[in-house]
Symmetry: C2
Subunit: 223 residues, 2 copies
DNA sequence: GTCTATAGCCCGATAGAC
DNA sequence: GTCTATCGGGCTATAGAC
C-alpha cells in the first residue's frame, strides 16, 4: 500500500519537473537555465533533479522525450493517412489530375495540422526548444530528428514525389520550401507581429494566414 | 605621437573583442557565454571588456551594432535600387506585364543577395544571433529590427504591392512567405543537410537551390 | 521520497599596480 | 591601455538526516 503511494508521488514529481523544464529550458536555453530555477518552477526540492534524472542534462533529455512523444501523437494520424494512401493505389495508372485529386487534400491537411501546431501557444515552448537545437545540435536534436522529423519528412517527400511525378531530390527541395512557408510564421514571429501590428497569432489571425498559406503551397508544389 | 598609437591600440582591442564576441555569443548565447571565454577568444585581458564596453551586455550590443552595419551594407545597394525604381515610374499607367517586366528582376536580385547572405559561412553567426533574438527579444532585437529588418521589409512589401496590384496586408503576407522560402535554408539547415546528405551549403549546393527558389518565389508572388 | 547543508567551482565586475 | 588579484555571489552536484 505504502509502496504504491510512494511510487505515485514519485511519478508526480517526475512529471511536474519535466513540465516545468519544458517551460524553463525553452525560455532560457540549456546553459542559462539553472537547476535552482528548474526546481523552483516545479515547486520541488533542488536535490530531486539529481535523484530522478541524474542531473540537469538528464532532465533536458527527458523534456525532449516528452515533447517528441506529444508531437508524434499530433502528427501521426495524418502521417499514417498519407502512408496508407500512398501504398493503396497503383500510382503509375493514374494521370496528373487523378493523383492531384487524391493527394492534394492530404498535403493541405498535413499543412493545417502543422501550422496550427506551429502557431499554438501550447507548442510555443516546443518550437523554441527544437529551433535552439537546430542551431547547435546535441543528442536531444538527434532524438527529435530520428523519432519525429525524419519520418514526417519522408512521408511528405514521398507524397510530393508522386504528386509531381518527379525525382527524390526535387521532391525533397519542394518539401523544404513548403516547410519554409509554414515555419516562417513561428521563426520570424516577432518580426511579423511588429509589422502586422498583431499581439499574437490566434484563431483570428490564423484565418487570415491559412488561405494565403494554402494558395502558396499549391503554387509551389505545382510550379 | 604616443597618444595616437595608444588610441590605435585601443581601437584594435575593441575590434578583436567584438569579432570574438560575435563568434562566442552566436555559439553559446548571451547567458552561457562567459566573460572569461569572450576575453580568451579575443586573446585579450578579461578586465578590458569592462573598460571598453561597460560589461558583458555592452559588448553584446556592440556585436549587434557591427553585424547590423554589415548586413545593411550588403543589402543597401539592391534595397536602394528598389526604392528608386518604385519612385521612378507612374505605376498606375503600366499594365500587369509592364510592372512584372520591371519589378520581378529586382525582386529576384534581392532574393539572390539574401539567400547568398543566409547560406554563407561568413554570416552563419549573424543568422544565429538574430534568430536567438527572435525567440526571446531584447534591446538588441529592437536595434536590428528598426535599423535593418523593417526598412528592408518595407521596400519588399511596397514592391510586391505594386507587382500584384494588391493591398498592404496581402503584400505583407506574401513577403513573409517569400522570406520563409529563403530562410528555411538557414533555419532547418541541420535537418536539410541530414536529409540531402550534404555536408555544407556551398557554391555547388546553391546552384541546385537557386532555380528551385526562383521558381517558387515567382509561383508565390503570382499565385 | 524528500529535505538541508555544503563542497568545489565558475561567474561578472572592479580596485589598483604598472 | 593593460594587467593581476580578488570580492561576493550563483552554479551543479552530493552527502546525510528524516
Amino acid at each position: 500500500m505504502n509502496e504504491f503511494k510512494e511510487a505515485e508521488r514519485g511519478d508526480l514529481t517526475r512529471r511536474v519537473l519535466i513540465d516545468a523544464a519544458i517551460k524553463v529550458f525553452a525560455r532560457d536555453g540549456f546553459h542559462a537555465a539553472s537547476t535552482r530555477e528548474l526546481a523552483h518552477a516545479a515547486n520541488v526540492n533542488l536535490a530531486l533533479i539529481n535523484y530522478y534524472f541524474k542531473g540537469k542534462q538528464g532532465l533536458y533529455l527527458a523534456a525532449f522525450e516528452k515533447i517528441t512523444t506529444q508531437l508524434k501523437s499530433e502528427i501521426s494520424p495524418v502521417e499514417d493517412k498519407i502512408r496508407l494512401c500512398l501504398e493503396k493505389y497503383d500510382w503509375s495508372t493514374l494521370d496528373k489530375d487523378g493523383r492531384k485529386e487524391i493527394l492534394l487534400p492530404l498535403l493541405l491537411e498535413m499543412a493545417n495540422t502543422f501550422l496550427k501546431l506551429l502557431t499554438s501557444d501550447k507548442t510555443k515552448e516546443w518550437a523554441q526548444l527544437i529551433m535552439r537545437e537546430q542551431q547547435e545540435p546535441t543528442a536531444a536534436f538527434e532524438y527529435v530528428f530520428s523519432t519525429f522529423i525524419r519520418p514526417m519528412l519522408t512521408q511528405i517527400i514521398r507524397l510530393i514525389k508522386v504528386l509531381r511525378n518527379t525525382d527524390e531530390e526535387e521532391a525533397a527541395m519542394i518539401t523544404f520550401s513548403v516547410f519554409g512557408l509554414l515555419a516562417v510564421w513561428r521563426v520570424v514571429r516577432t518580426g511579423i507581429l511588429r509589422r502586422m501590428k498583431w499581439t499574437t497569432i490566434g484563431e483570428e489571425e490564423l484565418q487570415k494566414i491559412l488561405p494565403v498559406v494554402h494558395r502558396n503551397i499549391i503554387a509551389v508544389v505545382f510550379a
